[in-house]
Amino acid sequence: MTVTAARALRDRMTCFVGIGLPSQAANLARATHAPNLVLIYESGTIGAKPGSLPLSIGDGILAETADAVVSVPEIFNYWLQPGRIDIGFLGAAQIDRFGNINTTMIGADYAEPKIRLPGAGGAPEIAASCREVIVIVRQTRRTFVERVDFVTSVGFGDGPGSRKRLGLTGAGPRKIITDLGVLEPDPAGCELVLTAVYPGTRPADVSERTGWDLKVSADLAEVPAPGPDELTALRALLATIPDTAEAL
């Protein structure tokens, strides 16, 4: 899924990246078809060109290779908020049929969480203000839920018209890339629909790991398997940090 996410990025785009799979995918894109991709990390590093994968969004290599390093208020107020950034790359602990994301807590009651998650970070404003959003997340019934326990970042709210009503300037989620395939919003109803699967994956396999009645696109595509160049570049990147061998 890292390869699929990397393919969603085009050269010269500006891309607000979180750590983990988003950072791996963005750096893979930069190492393959998008050498001029502009990576922006919330630590204030604009145009970072790390030669190895950072463990955190604030590793020294990001500052040392950046075109500009700005303060944290500046990165959010001057760069993200006005809609200057093409793509926001997010993960999720839960995501619902309208692409709303929860990274705050699991449980029925905020005051007594079953599982306390890290929280919002930059995500609410990335989801609101980037021109488009790509989500990378492993697909399970616990993750793909009918209704998120907490809305940390808004996708399409409760359906058509929500984003406009809320005054959110970006277009919202464009692709949800999982370990089974790709979901995209239906333009009319905003509901996430299965539009592509990996070779050997059946739509029924994806439905089984989705907590709502998943619709399948009439033009369901098959994601081309990773090419040798993509695999070589990904392996070279992953070799630069420990404990990530499972990311393929």
Binding site: S56, V72, P118, G121
Partner: protein, 270 residues
Amino acid sequence: MAEIVSLADAVAEAVHDGDMVAMEGFTHLIPHAAGREVIRQGRRELTLVRMTPDVIYDQLIGAGCARKLVFSWGGNPGVGSLHRFRDAVEHSWPVPLELEEHSHAGMANRYVAGAAGLPFAVLRGYTGTGLAGRANIAEIACPFTGETLTAVAALRPDVTVIHAQRADRAGNVQYWGITGVQKEAVLAATRSVVTVEEIVDKLDPRPGAVVVPGWAVGYVALVPGGAHPSYALGYSVRDNDFYLAWDAISRDRQAFGQWLARHVHGEASR
């Protein structure tokens, strides 16, 4: 005018039980040695403020120093959970922890308002999320266009603690690399403590460096390596192995207790 003192004296003078304390540094320049000193001096009932609580607040929370946490992202970057933070929220251990939760953009703007001496800041943020309408977040109408925006209340910590690369003998502080929100956090606070890698006769100008004049700083303490396991660009690198190892240490109350005994109170602490 900044006073140059020992770290122990700086913490004793500036950080009191019940204070609102902000220890800032966005992944880079996190004032870890000062955090351990606050634990060592046994401070209690603190309201801890920080965008990313990170390992530094996991330690303070696990040691029972905090009553409340004001934050925007509470994980171990690139590794996973902060287990002392989760234990406090999920099981009230060792003491209950009240949460006030924001987004990064909201927290950054709250410091900006504090530094500017304004009661609040305005941004496009939080709209439609479960955070909107919670403490210190409110809707506001633009007086010029009528557009609905979000207001966040200013942060005004009793004390802000940061780590920097250098200071001179007059207490002028200089830091560079990822500069985070430290200037705003210092200017928003009533008191401030800055730990530094070195104290020099003269600060050479450096491109991209932030200088905080000594007359706007409370205490400066010389603490080489005082950011570890975070780092000071040009002096040290981020100890990513420690962040990975923290997962196992913090997961278990007993292992954490042993770490505290050895690295905060014991012979490996200085």
